[in-house]
């Protein structure tokens, strides 16, 4: 990373299509979800979170998934992240089906392809800002020095380089989410998953974060964002609407 580097340069742009372009082959899809069902057993009654959801996200695309509470948005995100397994249907990430993969294989898939940004940040509070960004790269097997170097670059680019040695607890909400984004980018993931990334932020902090996502997208980063907030969804190039566990509108028309 040079001094003139910009956040648009830091995404994994290999095999990336131009924003808005139609994918030429199936492997151009970063995410492909086909007829996915997921039901959670609760004490009172089963909750059918997904009821045959379908979704495809091209490489380099910035997709927002919108829908009311309980429509299955976060469940779908968890399935994409390999944090949950569908009861039926198939999830394919970067051309690789998640079906039949065990917990270990799913974890390795996450290292290679997934960066996650949570609504409530989920930072490792006992570690410094820098260590939070270094951690995923080290987990993925990168050498610590390399991981630290990239982490510093990311923090600089996200405007919190001066906070590297501090505890996450001293950062503002916007800064914490920027840190979470830096962590999500640490392994140059195929796709960044963001679950209500502005939900815990004030309007200014929220706008900062959305601006970051826009710039990442410009750099070719694939982003799948879940929100119930229309202005947030408007930052994406495509809006997918969900209802009752299904994709109601895939936003392609």
């Amino acid at each position: 990373m040079t001094e003139t580097a910009d956040i648009t340069d830091i995404a994994d742009t290999s095999e990336t299509t131009e924003p808005g372009a139609t994918p030429s082959t199936a492997t151009d899809l970063a995410v492909e979800i086909t007829a996915v069902y997921r039901t959670f057993e609760q004490d009172t009654a089963p909750v059918r979170a997904l009821r045959g959801a379908d979704l495809a996200v091209k490489r380099g695309e910035f997709v927002a998934v919108m829908g009311p509470s309980g429509c299955g948005k976060s469940t779908m995100l968890n399935l994409v992240a390999g944090l949950d397994i569908p009861d039926e249907g198939e999830v394919i990430i970067a051309g690789e089906s998640l079906a039949g993969k065990d917990e270990n294989a799913l974890a390795i898939m996450r290292r290679q392809h997934i960066g996650i940004v949570f609504q409530f940040f989920n930072l490792l509070e006992g570690m410094t800002v820098l260590e939070n960004v270094v951690m995923p790269a080290v987990i993925a097997g990168r050498k610590r020095k390399v991981a630290e170097s990239r982490a510093r670059d990311l923090l600089d680019l996200l405007g919190i380089g001066d906070k590297a040695k501090q505890a996450p607890g001293v950062l503002s909400g916007g800064q914490r989410q920027r840190l979470a984004i830096a962590r999500a980018l640490a392994n140059e993931p195929t796709i960044v998953l963001a679950d209500e990334p502005t939900g815990a932020l004030d309007s200014e902090g929220g706008e900062e974060v959305l601006e970051l996502f826009r710039r990442l997208h410009q750099g070719g980063q694939t982003i799948l964002l879940v929100t119930h907030d229309q202005p947030v969804a408007d930052a994406a190039e495509r809006i997918v609407r969900m209802k009752d566990g299904r994709v109601d509108d895939d936003g392609l028309d």
Binding site: L83, A107, G126, M127, M135
Partner: protein, 783 residues
């Protein structure tokens, strides 16, 4: 609580019941061991007194050695009622000594036995440990003590032959010179085996108790003397009652002795070592328990900090929050204190150990109310104070901190990094107190175990080192042989390293006076028959001339003598020059002897020939077993340690029990911390799973938490334990006059460190299964 926080309290009980249960277990185990050790020390300390009270054999009036049997005639019958009337006397009985002994392998054993005759009130008794008391009317029933049973190989129900001196063998009876016994030989059944105070010492003697029926039937045909009265007096009235008895019996020239003058003094010293060991154990266990308990409470309090803001938001003041938190903990503290009392009672049969256990009349369950109830109350108070402190502190706002500087040292792998984070901050609140608490608890446990290892090794090395105990010989003659000259000749012919006689001026204690004081001592010299046996010299040289003396280290300190000093023996006065200082067993200690030359002994005796005190043999390095067997046939027995040094054996299994207790506490602390970290930092575990940790890595991180906690504990605990062990051992060994041998079992300490780390790794691995099963999506959604 001004604000009703009971719903929150009930919620905490439901949510954190496993952690609260952990606190109950830790308080129960730690407190239970502590209370049990204190109770054990108290039980050991009082065992002897309780036994004495039980047997009631507290004072005896016996005929003086200058009084003839004729002069004594009828005195006992006349004095018995008078003694029984002395205030404080619960009962009294006439005592007959007789020249009767058990036949062992065709030879008469120790021809000396006793029988109780006429009694008034609560007669003194003996403690039958196997079988029953003899029917006093039956002349053919006897009871024997444990030592006699061991020597004769006799059990209850066996028939033995009683050999005796005839009534005209009074001189043989008194002199015990091994003359042939001409009295009646009577068959009798051993109906019971009893335990005397002598059985409790390290040097017991065989005892045989005849029935009054035997005395009535055979008394006029065997040498016997009804020349003593035994009185049963409570210990707290013993001194005054004994003084009055002395007045009563003075006209019969009888001498009054009390139990506190005799064996109990020796036993008190031996028991004192065990009591000291138990009190040290109680202290260590107590401190360890408090550390473990407080760090568990710290974890518990810290874990609730996330609720503080919510509680404050609904209007709860800090006092309300503290009160609510205390309400959460109160049942755990109370149950822990009760559990500790139950554990203490449950462990009570384990105490006392060693000699004190043999002194214990009923070594079973014991509920020592002051110790158990008092201990439980103290435990509750300490736990409540600790809980209050941590709860009050946790109700404050604190600035976030990180622990990265330390983690960087562990940053080779992400599992070690996360394991280190968990170890350094189990509750995830950025405070060091919780991690410091558990590391301190583990360090304390390891320090205690290390200290125990050092002390045990030191005891073993000291007791097996002739130089340490001042005993450069292997075998002793502990009783005069029937044919001394033959034994000497046969011994001298064996291929041994050294053979010597210990000579002293019979029964005479000399005052030895130096620059700083005076002390009583029985000067000794060795007449070497083969090779040389003498004191270990640590400073100066040996005694060569008739005016030379070598002093024990403690004796030299007491009288203020050094090499070259002049000291004076009285009676005399006779001046000697100190040529050396060292260690040599005088039978009691190894550092209070005064060793002179044979000529020097003549100077001290002023014509009186020294008496043979004992004889010693040192075997050669390559002496065969056949030689040892032949010497055993001649009457040589393994040398007895100096009595004071032998008390070290009374430390017994107490240190090991302490080590086990500390290990349990340490493991409990670690497991509790692992479980707490798993619960309180499940979000972090879920996050790293989302970042790419495979389940095994999450499990390994918990394992690393255990490893790093144990490693930190070992790094601190082992050096501290070595120092503690050395300091305690130095005090103990100095007290018994043995050499302070530096014995640090390094290999064992390495094994302790490796074992602690490995065991904690296994604990982490087992507990970590829950981390591996954790569903990150569910955790992150609920968070």
């Amino acid at each position: 609580m001004a604000v009703n926080l009971w719903p929150w309290v009930r919620g905490e009980w439901r949510r954190g019941w496993t952690s609260l249960l952990g606190i109950v277990v830790l308080i129960t185990i730690g407190g239970g061991i502590t209370i049990a050790a204190v109770g054990g020390a108290r039980r050991a300390d009082t065992a002897l007194d309780r036994r004495i009270e039980y047997e009631g054999w507290t004072a005896n009036a016996t005929i003086g050695s200058l009084v003839t049997l004729e002069e004594m005639d009828g005195a006992v019958d006349r004095l018995l009622p008078l003694i029984a009337e002395v205030p404080g006397v619960r009962g009294a009985a006439a005592l007959t000594w007789a020249g009767v002994g058990i036949e062992i392998d065709g030879d008469p054993g120790n021809l000396f036995s006793g029988a109780l005759g006429t009694s008034i009130g609560e007669s003194p008794t003996e403690t039958i440990v196997i079988g029953r008391a003899a029917d006093q009317a039956n002349p053919h029933e006897v009871t024997i003590n444990e030592e006699a049973a061991a020597q004769a190989g006799v059990r209850v129900g066996d028939t033995i032959v009683l050999r005796s001196y005839a009534s005209d063998q009074v001189d043989e009876f008194y002199e015990g010179n091994g003359a042939p016994d001409n009295g009646p030989r009577v068959e009798a059944e051993v109906v019971g085996i009893f335990r005397t105070l002598e059985d409790i010492t390290t040097q017991p003697e065989a005892r045989l108790t005849l029935t009054s029926g035997y005395i009535e039937r055979y008394g006029d045909r065997v040498v016997s003397c009804t020349c003593g009265i035994v009185a049963n007096i409570p210990l707290d009235e013993l001194d005054q009652a004994a003084a009055e008895i002395a007045d009563v019996v003075s006209e019969a020239q009888m001498v009054v002795g009390t139990i506190t003058d005799e064996q109990s003094t020796i036993l008190d010293q031996a028991v004192g070592v065990e009591v000291g060991a138990l009190l040290v154990a109680a202290l260590v266990a107590g401190v360890a328990s408090i550390v473990v308990m407080l760090q568990a409470l710290a974890r518990q309090s810290a874990g609730r900090r996330s609720d503080e803001a919510s509680l404050a938001a609904i209007g709860a003041t800090r006092a309300d929050r503290v009160a609510a938190s205390m309400a959460v903990l109160a049942p755990a503290l109370a149950l822990g204190a009760i559990g500790a009392g139950v554990v203490a009672v449950g462990l009570s049969p384990l105490f006392p150990r060693g000699i004190a256990r043999r002194a214990e009349v009923d070594p079973g369950w014991r509920f020592d109310a002051p110790v158990v109830l008092g201990g439980a109350m103290v435990l509750l108070a300490v736990a409540a104070a600790g809980a209050l402190w941590f709860t009050w502190r946790s109700a404050r706002r604190v600035a976030p901190t990180t622990i990265t500087p330390i983690l960087k040292l562990l940053a080779a792998r992400p599992t070690t990094t996360l394991g280190g984070s968990l170890a350094l901050d189990p509750t995830g609140d950025g405070r060091r107190v919780t991690a410091a608490g558990v590391i301190a608890a583990v360090a304390f446990a390891i320090a205690g175990i290390t200290g125990v290892a050092v002390i045990e090794q030191s005891v073993d090395d000291t007791l097996s080192s002739p130089e340490a105990v001042g005993q450069p010989w292997d075998l002793e003659l502990q009783a005069a042989p029937a044919d001394p000259e033959a034994v000497v000749a046969a011994t001298a012919e064996e291929p041994i390293d050294a053979f010597a006689f210990d000579l002293r001026i019979g029964g005479t204690d000399f005052e030895i006076t130096g620059e700083d004081g005076t002390w009583l001592v029985q000067p000794m010299t060795f007449d070497n028959v083969v090779g040389t046996i003498g004191p270990y010299i640590t400073d100066g040289g040996g005694s060569i001339d008739e005016g030379d003396v070598v002093l024990g280290e403690a004796l030299a300190r007491r009288v203020g003598a050094d090499v070259g000093s002049e000291i004076t023996f009285t009676p005399g006065p006779t001046k000697f020059t100190v040529t050396g200082i060292g260690r040599l067993s005088d039978g009691d200690r190894a550092d209070e002897f005064a060793y002179v030359t044979a000529d020097g002994m003549e100077r001290l005796g002023r014509g009186q020939q020294p008496d043979l005190n004992s004889a010693m043999v040192r075997l050669g390095a390559d002496t065969g077993a056949d030689v040892t067997e032949r010497l055993a046939d001649l009457g040589w027995k393994p040398a007895l340690l100096p009595a004071k040094v032998a008390t070290l054996e009374q430390i017994g299994t107490v240190p090991r029990l302490l080590a086990v207790g500390l290990a349990v506490l340490g493991v409990g602390a670690v497991v509790h911390t692992l479980l707490v970290a798993l619960a309180r930092r499940r979000r972090d575990l879920a996050v790293v799973r989302a970042l790419g940790f495979v389940p095994g890595q999450a499990r390994a991180a918990i394992g690393w938490q255990g490893v790093l906690t144990a490693a930190a504990g070992a790094i601190v605990g082992i050096p501290v334990g070595v120092v503690i062990g050395r300091v305690i051992w130095k005090q103990v060994v100095g007290g018994v006059g043995a050499l302070d041998i530096v014995s640090v079992p390094w290999l064992l300490l390495v094994l302790i460190a490796v074992g602690a780390v490995a065991f904690c790794a296994v604990c982490g691995w087992v507990v970590g299964r829950r981390a591996a099963r954790l569903r990150p999506s569910a955790v992150l959604r609920s968070e």
